[in-house]
């Protein structure tokens, strides 16, 4: 059963074997596994429940309904825009479907530096396979790459850089380019269209528009309480509480630590909210004589991984295509006024690629502000700034090799590179201080990190809080490091594995 906020009778009280907070990768997959194991599952989702009929393919509608803070979520200094879904299905409702397994070197880092157990490539292999089969993850054939992805494929190949074709969780894709705005064709096999309906069929109850505000420990039972929100205004209209012996916090790397901090639990290590990684992202935009139309077609189907972990330090960068929608482009394009307007007029002939840095010496922190909401801070380290410069330079070379007339970085003061010989000078000469270049993150991770040592981590290798038996964090919060790739397959696999362990080790009580 799925209950929208306006249909919830207030005050609402419920009981379950497992209460799950958040319905994205972690929450959705956990709900399916646990309900399938016969547990009574209640899912709470702060965002609304929307279907394809609600998706009109416009940024105005999508940002309003589907994104955290209406796509305006950012670090306190506005230096990094942090894009996350806020709806049933979480970020899988608005992501670009890139489905990649966790790199082996990342998993090895977790084992070596944090004593994480049971999450080696071999351990996760059956989960990766199961998730990929369930979501119909498949690479696109050569002819399906749009002009924007072809820039990377052709440019990188011309430069001799390694490229790959990523899997996508779609069936019957219409190549509309609307993935980031909610798929109007139900072709994206998001958590909202897969795990959630299956969990509901197995008896799970999902309450949408219900924002958890606090978790209280009452002996072996836990009480989750919060506000029911008006679906349109997000103003609280009532209160709810759910009691359960097992609570899974799956509200994302931004909001899970906020909930734990407000509840004053699971933080004997003092690590809750710390160790935030962003997979820090910037972009280059190349202008071409030929038509690119960067918002159309399959948004993300190829990547260049030549420079990821190439120095053996688990860092480096990765290059992917990015669909360009008008408002997002306008935010990112440099400068303002007439020059900015002229850049926008070149939209159909603009190709864009993102550079995603797997952090080595950058880190952030999520705290709770005076209004009880997330406050995000982030500091870039010198090595990662250097990787970002190298990444922008590599992306610029790729664009020129693919035929770009010129290439623009996202520096606030416009930086236009007119020929390849200018790349190094222009990039080294630009300012990389905060707010001097547009930065983004769609992959915030790490704020309740996993590890064997309760003094330096929040959860163990099964995602259970060191401090609180029966309290789990199963979402992007738990990864001990940045992944280096888009996270949805990693998070789904970890969620399925952890939920299986919960099903085997916690008896139900709510009957």
């Amino acid at each position: 059963m799925i209950v929208r906020g306006r249909d919830v009778r207030t005050p609402m009280h419920d009981a379950a074997d497992v209460c799950i907070i958040g319905s994205g990768c972690g929450g959705g997959a956990s709900a399916k596994i646990l309900s399938g194991a016969g547990k009574k599952v209640v899912l709470l989702e702060e965002g609304g429940y929307y279907t394809s009929s609600d998706f009109d393919g416009t940024e105005a509608t999508a940002y309003q309904k589907l994104y955290q803070r209406r796509a305006g979520q950012a670090t306190e200094d506005l230096g990094v825009t942090v894009l996350q879904g806020r709806c049933v299905g979480g970020s899988t409702t608005v992501n670009w479907m890139t489905s990649l397994r966790t790199p082996e070197f990342t998993l090895e880092d977790w084992r070596r530096k944090f004593d994480v157990e049971g999450l080696s490539g071999r351990d996760l292999e059956p989960y990766f396979e199961r998730v990929e089969r369930y979501l119909n993850v498949h690479p696109e054939p050569e002819e399906n790459h749009n002009a924007n992805n072809r820039i990377i494929l052709d440019g990188a190949r011309a430069m001799g850089y390694r490229t790959g074709v990523n899997g996508r969780n779609a069936r019957g894709c219409q190549k509309s380019g609307a993935c980031g705005l909610g798929c109007p064709f139900d072709a994206k096999l998001s958590v909202a269209l897969t795990y959630i309906p299956d969990a509901v069929k197995q008896g799970a109850t999902l309450y949408a528009d219900c924002r958890a505000e606090k978790i209280e420990l009452r002996g072996t039972t836990k009480r989750v309480s919060g506000n029911i929100l008006d679906p349109d205004t997000r103003v609280p209209t009532g209160e709810f509480s759910v009691e359960a012996p097992v609570v899974i916090v799956a509200a994302s790397a931004i909001n899970s630590p906020v909930l734990l901090l407000k509840s004053r639990i699971a933080n004997s290590s003092g690590e809750v909210g710390k160790n935030l990684t962003f997979h820090l992202t910037t972009a280059v935009a190349g202008r071409f004589d030929r038509l690119i139309y960067p918002s159309g077609g399959i948004p993300q189907s190829v990547y260049c991984d030549e420079f990821l972990n190439s120095a053996g330090d688990s860092g480096g960068f990765w290059i992917e295509a990015v669909p360009v929608y008008p408002a997002l482009a306008a935010l990112a394009f440099p400068g303002f006024g007439e020059a900015h307007r002229q850049s926008m007029k070149e939209f159909p002939h603009t190709g864009a690629s993102i550079v995603l840095v797997k952090e080595t010496d950058s880190s952030g922190r999520v705290t709770v502000n005076d209004h009880g909401r997330a406050s995000i801070d982030y500091r870039r380290g010198p090595r990662d700034v250097e990787y970002m410069k190298q990444g922008v330079a590599a992306a610029a070379r790729i664009h020129f090799a693919a035929g770009a007339k010129d290439v623009m970085t996202l520096h606030t003061s416009p930086t236009v590179i007119r020929y390849p010989g200018e790349i190094e000078r222009k990039i080294r000469g630009a300012s990389w201080e905060r707010n001097d270049i547009a930065l983004f993150s769609a992959h915030p991770l790490g704020t309740c990190r996993m590890g064997a040592d309760a003094r330096s981590s929040v959860v163990d290798s099964r995602c259970q809080a060191h401090d609180v038996p029966g309290l789990f964090v199963i979402d992007g919060s738990v990864t001990p490091t940045s992944l280096g790739v888009n996270p949805q397959i990693t998070l789904l696999a970890i969620a399925e594995k952890s939920a299986e362990w919960i099903a085997e080790n916690f008896a139900g009580v709510a009957r």
Binding site: G57, T58, E59, A60, Y63, R70, A71, G72, T75, E76, D77, L78, G79, N146, A147, Q174, K175, S176, G177, A178, L181, R234, Y293, S295, G296, G297, I298, P326, A327, A329, A330, L331, F336, G337, E338, H340, R341, Q342, M344, K345, F347, P348, D361, S362, N369, D370, H371, D377, R379, R380, G381, P382, V385, T412, S413, W432, E433, R434, N435, D436
Partner: protein, 183 residues
């Protein structure tokens, strides 16, 4: 060339908190808004604003015009970004609303113009060229809080302008591609 070096940069909240004493003074200054400006507010601001005061509407409208390059009397100005921002901000969290009010007060204050922009006009009273120069000063300032404030204005202006379908024709955007067309 990185963010690891102290001191910690000033975030929005700290910037605003530290600006409160200045804001109090600016509040006094705003009581001295020239009658000329008030008259223009009454004439030009649309009725029934939900979030902005009339003066705030005019300040943001002016800033949005300069930022987007769509000036009030110019061609292609089919979107009232300020009015859209008014409706958008009217449903924002109270903390964001407070910050935007404060930001616009400071941005348009004479003390800020004198101290930070070395000009003796408030933003709203400047001509277009001076407004561009003033915005450029905020964008490239060595003070992190001014760059943050600029980003806030730019984000709001650009998102309000370009999420409106009226802005799309000029840039050749036709919405999402119909099924099967996407290549």
């Amino acid at each position: 060339m990185n963010d690891m070096t102290p001191p910690a940069p000033m975030g929005r909240r700290r910037f605003l908190r530290r600006s409160l004493s200045g804001a109090a003074a600016l509040g006094v200054a705003s009581a001295l808004v020239p009658a000329r400006v008030r008259a223009r507010s009454r004439n030009d601001a649309p009725g029934k604003l939900q979030f902005f005061t009339e003066e705030e509407y005019l300040v943001f409208s002016g800033a949005a015009a300069r930022l987007t390059g769509h000036y009030a009397s110019g061609p292609g100005n089919r979107v009232d970004a300020a009015l859209r921002a008014d409706r958008f901000l009217g449903t924002e969290d109270p903390e964001i609303q407070d910050q935007i009010h404060l930001l616009l007060t400071i941005f348009n204050s004479l003390p800020a113009a004198v101290l930070l922009g070395f000009t003796f006009s408030k933003f709203i009273d400047m001509d277009g060229t001076a407004q561009d120069k003033y915005l450029e000063g905020w964008m490239t300032s060595s003070f992190a809080f001014r760059r943050t404030a600029f980003q806030a204005l730019k984000r709001l202006a650009m998102s309000m302008y370009y999420t409106d379908e009226g802005a799309w024709e000029e840039i050749g955007y036709h919405g999402i591609v119909s099924p099967g067309e996407g290549r």
